[in-house]
Each structure stands twice: as structure tokens, then as C-alpha cells.
Amino acid sequence: MSDAGLARERTWLAWWRTILVAAGVALLAARMAATGGDPLLVALALAGWTALFVVAFRRYRSRRAGPGPALPLLAFFTAGYAALGTLLVLIR
């Protein structure tokens, strides 16, 4: 069976989809923090997405089959957005 890097390309596209969904989440969190008048949390929400982008890009550049710490980092960022959202709901 031939596979000229297609599995790797599919995986990279899956990373892209995930990063784009994360951008939507980051913008929603930033909007909620902005309407609450909390510039620090706005910056945190946007910085989180930037960091996620760096994690994804490093995963792509490292040409190894093993993903390294990228996967737990991605999960912790997702849980972090959940925690940030909960905080924003509770302080409003």
C-alpha cells in the first residue's frame, strides 16, 4: 500500500481544524472578558491561542511519529479555556 506522506498530511490538516476551532473559542472567551471589562483576561484568552498555535506548529515541524508533549498541552489549554469560561460566568 503506498502512502506518500498522506497520513502525515491528514494529521496536519486535523491540527489545523483544531486550531481554527480553538480560535473561535479564544475569541468567544475574549469577548466575554471584554464585556466584563477585564483587559487582563482578554489578553490571557488571546495569548492562550497564540501559544496553542506555536505548539501545533512545533508538532508539525518535528518530523517524528511521536507527538511529544503537544497532545497533553493541547488538552490542558482546552481545560484552561473551560476554567476561564467558568471563572467569567461566576464573576459576572
Partner: protein
């Protein structure tokens, strides 16, 4: 507690899972990674739903119901994301050792929760429409 911390340390150590068994075909590992990413997107969608509920839903007739729905969606999203890592590591381990993939009730549980939530919303909409 020590068990939880040890688990988190193992998740963050990329070489940990490579210490057992033999490396499978890289396509299987990449497929496992894509499955993980699909679960992360599911978690992110739940988090987005929670954030949107808090911001775009008008206050509901029952006090704090909007906030309860929002926090429930946010926590569910976070739980889905954390579980995705555990699932990835256990699947990778099973593939390396040539064992059966781990089974899980979690997808069924999540489906039941989402289904129940949807049914409740249908009831709420119907009650509003015919009142």
C-alpha cells in the same frame, strides 16, 4: 492524589509511552493522534457552547438556569479534553504491546448526556410555544 500526579507526569513525558513494546506502523500512531484531535474539537465545541450560552442567551425564567447550563457545558468540555489524553496514551500503549484497544463507556455516556440535553430543550421550546 499521587496517582493522579504521576499520571499527569507520564502524559507530559513524550518518551514514557515509548518505553514499552515495539513501535507500530507510523500510520496507526498518526490515526490515534487524529482521533485525539477529533475528541479535542468535541471538547472545544462544548466549551464554545458554554461560552455562547453565557453571552448570547437571554436570562431564563428560572433563576441562574442560564449560568448552570453554561458551567455544565464548560466543565463537560474540559473533562472531554483531559480524558482524550488518557485515551490516546492507553491506545498507544495497547498498540505497542499488540493488545486489544481499550474499551470505554465514555462515548455512550456523552451521547446520552447530549441526547438528554437536546430532549430537555425540545420540551422547553414546546412549553414556551403553547403557553
Amino acid at each position: 492524589m499521587a496517582g493522579v500526579l504521576g499520571k499527569i507526569r507520564r502524559w507530559l513525558d513524550p518518551e514514557e509511552v515509548r518505553r514499552v513494546g515495539t513501535t507500530p506502523d507510523y500510520r496507526f500512531s498518526l490515526a490515534n493522534e487524529r482521533t485525539f484531535l477529533a475528541w479535542i474539537r468535541t471538547g472545544l465545541a462544548l466549551v464554545a457552547g458554554g461560552l455562547a450560552t453565557a453571552q448570547f442567551l437571554p436570562p431564563l425564567p428560572i433563576a441562574h438556569l442560564r449560568e448552570v447550563i453554561s458551567v455544565a457545558l464548560l466543565l463537560l468540555g474540559g473533562a472531554v479534553a483531559v480524558r482524550a489524553v488518557d485515551r490516546w496514551a492507553r491506545t498507544e500503549r495497547a498498540m505497542r504491546l499488540g493488545r486489544d484497544l481499550p474499551s470505554s463507556r465514555f462515548p455512550a455516556l456523552l451521547a446520552i448526556l447530549v441526547g438528554l440535553g437536546a430532549a430537555l430543550l425540545v420540551v422547553a421550546v414546546l412549553v414556551q410555544a403553547f403557553r
